[in-house]
Amino acid sequence: MSVLEVSNIHKTFDKEEVLKGISFTLEKGEVLAIIGSSGGGKTTLLRCLNHLIIPDKGRITVNDDVIFDSERTDKISEAELRKKRLHFGLVFQQFNLFPQYNVMKNLTLAAYLLEDERIKKEKGSKEDRKAAHAKVDAKAEEILKKVGLYEKKDAYPCELSGGQQQRVAIARALILNPDILCFDEPTSALDPELTGEVLKVISGLKSSDSTMIVVTHEMEFARRVADKIIFIADGIIEEEGTPEEVFEHPKSEKMKNFFSKSVEVISGGES
């Protein structure tokens, strides 16, 4: 059974069709890398999955739970929408940490609120709340250790480097246990010397039960870490397959072009 099934997603902005029918599936524990030139629709697709944009057409299911279906006309409540969103985590290109809170609070803020909501619904006591918060704290510390930032837990985002901020953002997404963790060009806003630490953290997350989708321009990273690559151009999937298939034996002209250009850039930079 696939964790994620996306079928026939369409999205139009100002009469321009950005997504022209995207379909794919993802198995549990897989890492999917979405590549393609800017403006091709990669980020829009990711934002559709996270319900930051509502697609015009199509269907998305996670673990057989229908997240979005354009055929369904009944309106869903905000509470339901929030619940559906939590299937996904999203790490932004610009980190989007909350600047007024320290690292620890950035991680725990949403988790506290969700726990409070649950306890209120179950009519739990103050002690239940305290215990739940302590659990969240412990988990936050554990995750911070995982991304190598435990000693920065009391620092504010402005005191961290870009790479550290992005690692905090990854930790913040992880604490809510999303079924699928999405990355929207996680290293594009970083200086080249800082991309390594972030990519290392992302590859370190790879395990049999963490499913990830990474929109990226880092071809080497995609080739090494992804189980599956999707190449999107002009709103459709031009090429799809394992890294080997896509990079070594591309079928479409657009992929061949795109790939030769990115190789040019890399070798051009070295000379």
């Binding site: 905000e78 969103r85 939590l86 985590g89 932004f92 909350f98 007024q100």
Partner: protein
């Protein structure tokens, strides 16, 4: 009349000035936020109406508004109006709320979309995002313009004199008229300077406190 007596009488007026200042702030700070929500409403008719209201309030002199609130009910409806001080308070609260609402709006609109989106993908409600994420950042950003506006309020309190409220300036004029001495009218400048000076220091302190983070 000697210096001490003049000072004592002026302090009475200064009391009224401070009271008007404080009540205006207490009323206008929250009312301004309400007006902001109205002018940012997605319901077009509400935002249009509220924006029209803000235009009228900001587009006419505060002194005129004070006069209107005080004399208007009697002239238009033939009913007894409110007391002098109450009339000034009402006019000031509405006027300052309109100005504050625009400062708030500027602050809210300056917050990056990414902050809202980050809250959304973390499963927060719109209310939670506004109060737990956005509001505090807005607060930091609007301190300088709010400081400006609040210092202006100190001096605007003297407009209450137009309907004979016994605030500081009015009190000084009474002394000048009754005792044929001119210096008290200049002396009150020191009161205003002291008041605005303290506020300037206070706002400086708040700004410094908020500098623990950047952004």
């Amino acid at each position: 009349m000697g210096f001490v007596e003049v000072t004592l009488q002026l302090l009475k007026g200064f009391n009224v000035t401070i009271l008007l200042f404080a009540i205006t702030l207490i009323g206008a700070l929250p009312l301004g936020l309400l007006i902001t929500f109205g002018s940012m409403s997605k319901v077009k008719i509400i935002s249009k109406l509220v924006k029209g209201f803000v235009w009228i309030i900001r587009g006419t002199p505060l002194m005129l508004q004070v006069i209107l609130v005080f004399y208007g009910p009697g002239l238009i409806f033939g009913i007894g109006g409110v007391g002098r001080f109450t009339a000034v308070v009402i006019a000031f609260i509405i006027n300052y709320a309109a100005y504050f609402s625009e400062i708030y709006r500027g602050g809210i609109e300056s917050i990056a979309q990414g902050q809202y989106e980050a809250g959304q993908v973390l499963g927060m409600t719109k209310t939670q995002i506004f109060f737990k994420v956005v509001l505090f950042q807005v607060f930091k950003r609007i301190i300088p313009p709010m400081g400006n506006e609040i210092i202006t309020l100190v001096k605007d309190t003297s407009l209450a004199r137009v309907i004979a409220v016994n605030e500081l300036l009015n009190e000084a004029q009474d002394i000048v008229g009754q005792h044929a001495i001119i210096w008290p009218i200049f002396y009150i400048g020191a009161f205003y300077l002291l008041f605005t000076g303290l506020l300037t220091i206070l706002f400086g302190q708040i700004e410094k406190k908020m500098n623990y983070y950047a952004g």
